[in-house]
């Protein structure tokens, strides 16, 4: 059997292998070593989740702890990328984009285009998303839709250890700025991951489960809830095709549209808030290019339009889960258009 490691180990390994391969890679972020200037252990943390732990021992000052000055150090990563390094920077929680968004929105994302192709900005910003750990309103958001909205950025949302490794290596080798979103509930997830270096290309969604009745389009942690739902529905004889986007920008439109051509029914599952979101993005794609195949309304299963509540049971209610997905799939599968009703008779 193939080797099993966690999502977190997969990220660490990707960083390790790439740093060994390319001198230009540096890692910056708050406590990504941990213990700078302190009397105790050096490499005390490896980032708040321990993801970079151990790399300092191998690569020394190619990893640098930063002050709590996100604009300065995210910007520094971007500036260094434009002048010859290939930095990977950790923005602890994606919620903190608010204190450094300009450097991403107006600097990194714009350079290549507004300088007429004369700049490359090979920077990767790793950041944490997701609700589910009672971290409340300012540490639980999933803000990938905002980055996906911005031309010039590429956005990666791995759902499993294999993809985490392959997509991170791809991200590091890409010459555009990449935002790499790690769902905090996935770090301990184990899965098969080759030891050797490999890449997963951008813009290729994965069909994690095939099925001809309903297409479920989803990403990140929600891939697992969707799969759970698909298993439940299989008992009822409903076959779901579950599509894991893997990257939201670029987006693999073809895989989605082909699946919809088969099923005619779509549920989009996105943990984020509903408005102007990845959920609406996929729904709009299907309502446009996929319309001729559609046999039922596109249903979105998302968080409500509220901040993330602290209380456990409220937070559980807040998040989409297998039950809600099952209900949505049933709804679209039972939907009868004039057309489908007619064609049955």
């Amino acid at each position: 059997m193939a080797r099993q490691i966690t999502f977190q180990q997969a990220i660490n390994e990707a960083l390790d292998q790439e740093m060994a391969r390319d001198e230009r890679i540096v890692i910056l972020g708050e406590d990504i070593v941990g213990g700078a200037g302190a009397p105790g252990e050096i490499d005390a943390w490896g980032g708040v989740m321990g993801v970079t732990k151990g790399l300092h021992g191998k690569y020394g000052d190619r990893l640098m702890d930063t002050p709590i000055s996100e604009s300065a150090f995210v910007g520094a990563a971007i500036g260094a990328a434009a002048t010859g390094l290939r930095p990977v920077v950790e923005l602890m929680f994606n919620d903190f984009m608010g204190v450094c968004f300009d450097q991403i929105l107006n600097q990194a994302a714009k350079f290549r285009y507004m300088f007429g192709g004369k700049a490359e900005t090979p920077v990767v910003i790793r950041t944490m998303i997701g609700a589910g750990v009672r971290a409340a309103a300012q540490h639980s958001q999933s803000l990938y839709s905002m980055f996906t909205h911005v031309p010039g950025l590429k956005c990666v949302v791995p759902s499993n250890p294999y993809d985490a490794k392959g997509l991170l290596i791809e991200s590091i080798r890409d010459n555009d700025p990449v935002i790499f979103f790690e769902h905090k509930k996935l770090y301990r997830l184990e899965g098969d991951v080759p030891e050797e270096s490999f890449t997963v290309p951008f813009g290729e969604a994965e069909i994690v489960r095939e099925g001809g009745d309903v297409t479920i389009v989803t990403l990140a942690e929600m891939v697992h809830e969707s799969t759970k739902a698909a298993e439940i529905l299989q008992q009822e004889g409903l076959e779901c095709e579950v599509i894991d986007l893997r990257t939201t920008s670029p987006l693999d439109e073809e895989t989605i549209l082909e699946s919809v051509e088969n099923t005619g029914r779509v549920v989009v599952v996105d943990e984020a808030n509903p408005r102007c979101s990845m959920a609406t993005d996929i729904a709009a794609l299907v309502a446009g290019a996929g319309f001729s195949s559609l046999k039922a309304p596109v249903r979105m299963v998302t968080a409500p339009h509220t901040p993330v509540p602290f209380n456990d049971s409220l937070e559980d209610l807040y998040k989409p889960d297998a039950n809600k997905i099952v209900a949505a799939v049933r709804e679209v599968s039972e939907y009868q258009t004039w057309k489908t009703a007619a064609s049955k008779s």
Partner: protein, 322 residues
């Protein structure tokens, strides 16, 4: 600035309340009873109380992720706080905020804040409101040594200065931002020095020394009340626990915490000084200690017995129709 005996005893009571609150939260968190991210203020009590003793409920404070102490010092109800940490309906925020978002606007407590550097701009606004209302009120931002490196904090120092706002920036320099030492992350000679670079009167005090904090804060706050603008106060102090509950603290020196508890305990220091001078009888402190312990125990029990929020609460307190 002289404290009466009653004021001193009240200050001790508040400091003890904070300490006891944090010790109990530590236990309950370890027992898996409190979810989420929790940052304890134990060890730093003299700062919150030394500052807030000068404030009325019409004065505002904005706090940090390490906010329990500031809340208690500002007079926030400990039952409401504990229930909030447990996520209960009876919590100050109805269970929707948790430790990092305890707030009580009616008492001028503008909220703990999960964003490092979130508070200082807000405090400029509260100070502007106070200035316009013209009643001599002030607003205080608590900031950590780590938070002192955030651009929002720097901008706020300058804004408060040029608008001559009744704002006080209290930097709680406990030597660490998470695992990173302040000696590494702060390039200046001191945070006070950096404040002076912005044109603010700025002093550094021993944050374990309640009376020193009380005095320095009093001067800054009085200056602000008189319309003479903002100040910065750097308190050097220590946290007794890890950055957050669950932190293994391997970045700290061997026995660092132990020796802090022995030599740098602001509560001990205050009570020892007050009893040594004969001003307060040790028995009085002991009596307060047991009252406070009983009170905090009660908050824990009440919180555990309190109801969970209702499912409908998910959709209240925000515009929702979709």
């Amino acid at each position: 600035m002289q404290l009466t005996k009653d004021e001193l005893i009240e200050a001790y009571r508040l400091m003890k309340t904070i300490r006891e609150f944090e010790e109990q939260v530590h236990l309950e968190f370890s027992a898996g009873q409190i979810p989420g991210f929790v940052h304890l203020y134990a060890g730093e009590e003299a700062c919150a109380v030394g500052v807030c003793t000068h404030l009325s409920r019409e004065d505002s404070i904005a706090s940090t992720h390490r906010g329990h102490g500031h809340c208690i010092a500002k007079g926030v109800d400990v039952h409401g706080m504990m229930a909030e940490l447990f996520g209960r309906k009876t919590g100050l925020c109805g269970g929707k905020g948790g430790s990092m978002h305890v707030a009580d606007l009616d008492l001028g407590m503008m909220g703990a804040n999960g964003i490092v550097g979130g508070g200082p701009p807000l405090v400029c606004g509260a100070a502007l409101a106070a200035k316009r209302q013209g009643k001599g009120n002030v607003a205080v931002a608590f900031v950590g040594d780590g938070g002192s490196n955030q651009g929002t904090t720097f901008e706020s120092l300058n804004l408060a200065k040029i608008w001559n706002l009744p704002a006080i920036f209290v930097v709680e320099n406990n030597g660490y931002a998470e695992a990173t030492a302040a000696s590494y992350s702060v390039g200046a000679e001191s945070i006070a020095e950096r404040g002076r670079g912005f044109g603010l009167p700025a002093v550094q005090v021993d944050g374990h020394d309640f009376l020193a904090v009380y005095e320095a804060a009093g001067e800054a706050i009085e200056r602000a009340r008189r319309g003479e603008g903002p100040s910065l106060l750097e308190c050097r102090l220590n946290r007794f626990y890890g950055h957050f509950e669950g932190d293994a603290q391997t970045y700290r020196g061997e026995d660092e915490v132990k020796s802090l508890r022995e030599d740098q305990d602001c509560l001990l220091r205050l009570s020892q000084e007050a009893t040594a001078s004969g001003e307060v009888d040790p028995a009085e402190f002991a009596a307060i200690d047991s009252e406070v312990e009983a009170l905090i125990k009660d908050t824990v029990e009440a919180a555990k017995a309190a109801p969970q929020p209702d499912a409908e609460d998910l959709l209240t307190d925000v515009y929702v129709s979709y």
